[in-house]
Symmetry: D2
Subunit: 401 residues, 4 copies
């Protein structure tokens, strides 16, 4: 017996739920790539993308996933022999560092673990220690998709400035763009990296870079640049094909147009507020389950350091998290995210973590439904837990909706 | 502020949620209507439709909605001057009677109110009183979409037989087909009427009639028959176009094929069990809300008399039901059904009733999510209610999934 | 070996090619049928539908195919015992008559064969002979889909008037609406019947009736009216559901909205001109093939009497038409229409006729491509034919595009 | 007035016409990227992709366009300081060379112009001159999308072998894969580069590399390799995400699955034969137009050297090609390809060239229709041309279908 038949809900932290409007925008005949509808439409993307990141800077789109977007940033930011300072607060911060090293860039890593944000004081200290200013850029995730830790970007900027260091600040907003507030220019960010399949609600396949004038200028001669990754022609194309270094990703672009329109219709501040409210809804339930049951707990203790697009939690002891994920998928139509970076995949402890995504095209019904399904699973599997989680979650929705 | 942006959930009792697979099946080029793919595919529909209703009898498809399917039944069952016995347990039973009267058929109505099932004893009594056997057919809803009362069809058949009356038994399964168990042949039903947009998960536009040999024979000379409604050529077509009395409803037929395939894949008994479980989930929540708050109550007291596809409830005092429906739609993305037939639309009491549908393509996530959203709305609107509803609902899912 | 793989072209006279935009409009979640988007959208359909037929009269939509739309007209126009005068110029005129007779209406038929239009003088004569004015309505096809004969509706109206006869004039525009110019009010038409799957480019399943005030008034007491067919509540609904006598055909309505928008964007006169040009394109090719080969000929000799949406032709001797249809479908991806009403299906001569449709969403590429494929088939099958057909067709496009 | 309204036909050499089945495959909910349907489906892609290229070697998929696929090949084939021998027969051969140079690779170019294939003797000569075997790889297009020249790959392989040179042979099959026969293993090819949007009938966004064991081995230490481009983990992934160096391109993968299924259903030899036949159809028309009008001519004189997916032609004098393209698009719904690489875009002569694509999802109706529309345009624009082109084209279809 299963109660899963019906519209399934994918609550993994990307790809997120694709809106019908976005999928419909992709269900269309191929356009001419030299003239007409496509180039005209693409002209409307740039201002909306700038508004999304809070910048008047440059935008480059890549046919690539998030890792490709990292590589795009890496290959423009650095020349062989350069140094990078990576601030890690989870698996994806570490992975970004790993993507830089093979390029011949020396990586200095500050690892803040998987449950705490970057400590700006240590950043300042590290940069002060770099008297020759060999560090070309500081790389940090805004929200690490694995740990759901959210970093305080203005504070990190302040630390760089306090150290009097010229390093560029590059921020990975793959998990947070369109979910958590972000103000690139106000926060003094030089490079922002994102991708299509999370808050942007578009299938995987588009990477986005926002680039400050300063970064454009400072990276003009990076010797790692290749024709595909070079952001200059992409951001300043005189011919349409140069935006894509070749053929445009036609269907993804129509999808992106629709997604940006949806965000504009709702209003970016409203989109952010919705994510904040749904995040608090999830937190309230997890905290109630954990009441008296310390094996169940949010990964990040301080709400101020939690991202609004995804919530990592411990649901132990192992393998309870995996048992619950299996149950919700097979019995109730909800696919939860695996824990990532909390334990090695072959460590039994791995099965004590999971993630609930609440990014992009997600509303109170979807989120409360996912929590209620988790509640049913906890009961069905006899996993000890605190009571009142769903009422607590419903109260958050009642208060914030 | 609203938390409604995301995938909206339509929880009205029809049209129900259309599965992606069904919508995709309709997104296709028009087929030839004389040969090839379409006629070949249609040949596979008939056995699946028979299996759905539990019959080896005849099937006729109509391009029509549920009211059209009633008219199809009416126009074949009756000749002008015939008599019908209608057993009403809600608004739609009454409406069926209203659709017969203008045809020159004399209607005798037994009205059992809006919260109780048909009493077979009264049926037997009424038929015994018809000594000349002037009553051609007994009309009854299996589940009335308005009241959610489910009638005991075998008991009604037994009453007819006990009266020794030759009346045909015609049953409206518009709200129940593919949701509540139904066994046309075993239960001695002569005509079954249904439509596409509920348990069949297909957009409105197809009506279905199942017809016993006996009904085929007895209605051969009904003088109300028109070329469009006459079920004989539709059920026994020698040329393809005769199934539709003209052009086939091409896209709906592909949708129906997909829906029947989905039902077959899940298995009809599993589909029924899923509906039963989700119905109990809803009942558990409503009963908890009503604990100590008699203004909140299920419409049908005895679970044995409740349909599994839709639940009617009182959520008073008025206008609380309407306030809640507005809130869930505007704040949380859930559209609940209006109350129907419990009070006149211009009576303020009308706003004290609503319906929650759980028919067709619906799983634990969708249903629990709808209940959780209702819970949030009750809190937000300060509507007094009993506690523990969501945990109660989750327990039902935990037990039955 | 086949060259058919690719986008197939269905050139049968209905269903016609569905535009991507129309199919996309149907690929959507079910809407609420009581409030919101659907009722609001439907309010915009009525003026566009009136404009389409050239009337300020009433409009009624039916969930039905063309035969259902006939029945809708029949059941409102007539009472039992009434008389109808049917003017037939092809299989569908005859079929309309056949749909009236079983209702208890006496049909007088004037049959003008399958290649000539109605002769207004004979209409006048027949009506003058009806001194008691027992004929309630004159029924005629604007363009008969089978023969492609187009009738001169103003001349028929003039004949009725000249006879001083009060008969209503009902016109079947199933094959012509949105293809051939039509001006209901200017031409004095009382009832127009059409359906969705031809010039309206929507899947089969919607019938449309336009009704003059005079017809509304004169048919108020027709005793054939049933709840489903009665046009009064449909055309003058005070509650939304009355437009459909029940549940609205949700997805078809969104499709119709899109189709009417496409027609408005192109402009109705431009739509008509396009159909006229493409019809002439087809005629030019057929005439060239027939030059010196009298077995190949357009069905209607006088261009003024040919419809613009479909062209019937003789492509003999039999079974050459069938051989050609099979070849174009299997080898080149074009499905041509069967001949209808020119010979009995079991008469070998049946295989000497076919039809080419050019209705709705059709442009020069589609039509010229179909003709070029027919040309290839004539060569491949060694069917004798005149030369220069494609150049002749291309010249028409060159001149009129 | 325009006859363009209807289904438009995009006859540019990529993106090609997307089949409904492929678009439908993309219109679906996001899948889990860790387990279930997606990884299981992806397992079926590899054998089909190998079969397509005629190899038992390795396959790597990239989220990228054709230029990205070039870069993928470049970054694996070469280390900084390596030498490449590029054989150019059109704009895209030159562009491939241009994509290698900025990487620090020394390019030796043999340019055979825009209308002739590679002369193997010159290749042999160039390689013999490279006594130190500094040339790491020979790069050549199978069919240059700009010139439509098709090169004889086995002859080039033979030339390399005759020179006793160890250079790897890398072939760009972007325009030809799935259109012209290709046998990677039999022809001794080491690396094949292709992309999704031409013969594969999938929207732009996927690049494909096939890699021989020898190339895998020889390139193991290329120092240009980056995490994103490195083909080893992509081709030999132990974890699913390694195939994509991150998030999988979910929707493109479902599209690719459908496209490969369509190719398998038709049969690859039948697909190739269809392209050959349609190419000859186009050639026949152009040759007829050019009869006595030397300004109209196929770009490649010898049919043996013409690709089967696209045909470049001169339609002069300028600006006749541009006038014709504008006319067919605005008047008849056909978008033809611009000429590329025959003249500089700002040279007036540029407007004397165009291309007709016949790649992927294309049948006799589409191709003949495009030619017939061009014929109509030639007439409408009074462009002098030879007669009988469409009959000639139809004869080819008649003979080969």
């Amino acid at each position: 017996m299963t109660l899963a038949h019906g519209r399934r809900y994918l609550a993994i932290p990307g790809p997120s739920t694709m809106p019908d409007r976005v999928l419909a925008a992709m269900h269309r005949a191929a356009p001419n790539i030299y003239a007409g509808e496509l180039p005209e439409m693409v002209g409307t993307l740039w201002p909306d993308l700038r508004r999304l990141a809070g910048t008047s800077g440059h935008v480059a789109l890549y046919i690539a996933n998030g890792h490709g977007a990292w590589e795009a940033a890496n290959m423009n930011l650095f020349s062989r022999g350069d140094r990078a300072l990576v601030l890690a607060t989870g698996r994806f911060g570490i992975a970004w560092a790993e993507s830089v090293k093979p390029l011949g860039v020396t990586v200095e890593m500050l690892d803040f673990g998987t449950a705490s944000p970057v400590d700006p004081a240590r950043v300042e200290q590290a940069l002060r220690a770099d008297r020759q200013h060999g560090i070309k850029a500081v790389l940090v995730t805004h929200v690490d998709t694995a740990s759901s830790v959210r970093n305080d970007i203005p504070a990190i900027r302040a630390a760089i400035d306090a150290a009097g260091h010229p390093a560029l600040l590059a921020v990975d907003c793959i998990a947070s763009m369109g979910c958590d507030p972000f103000h690139m220019d106000d926060w003094g960010v030089d490079v922002v990296v994102s991708a299509s399949q999370k808050g942007l609600m578009v299938p995987p396949g588009l990477g986005v870079l926002w680039i400050s004038d300063r970064a454009m200028e400072r990276c003009r001669d990076s010797d790692l640049r290749t024709p595909y990754w070079n952001w200059t022609p992409r951001a300043t194309a005189s011919e349409f094909w140069q935006h894509w270094a070749g053929t445009a990703p036609t269907h993804h672009l129509f999808a992106l147009r629709e997604s940006l329109t949806m965000i504009a219709e709702e209003g970016l501040p409203a989109v952010w507020a919705r994510h904040a409210a749904l995040a608090q809804t999830v937190w309230a339930a997890v905290e109630a389950w954990g009441e008296g049951h310390p094996d169940i707990a949010l990964n990040v203790a301080d709400p101020a350091h939690r991202g609004h697009a995804v919530t990592a939690l411990r649901l132990g002891p192992a393998p309870n998290a995996t048992r619950l994920r299996d149950w919700t998928e097979q019995k109730a139509g909800v696919t939860l995210g695996i824990g990532l970076g909390m334990a090695a995949p072959d460590d039994p402890a791995w099965h004590g973590f999971l993630r609930v995504a609440h990014m992009g095209h997600v509303n109170a019904h979807m989120t409360l439904g996912a929590l209620a399904v988790m509640q049913a699973g906890l009961i069905a599997l006899d996993i000890p837990h605190g009571l009142g989680a769903l009422e607590a979650a419903a109260r958050v929705v009642a208060r914030l909706a």
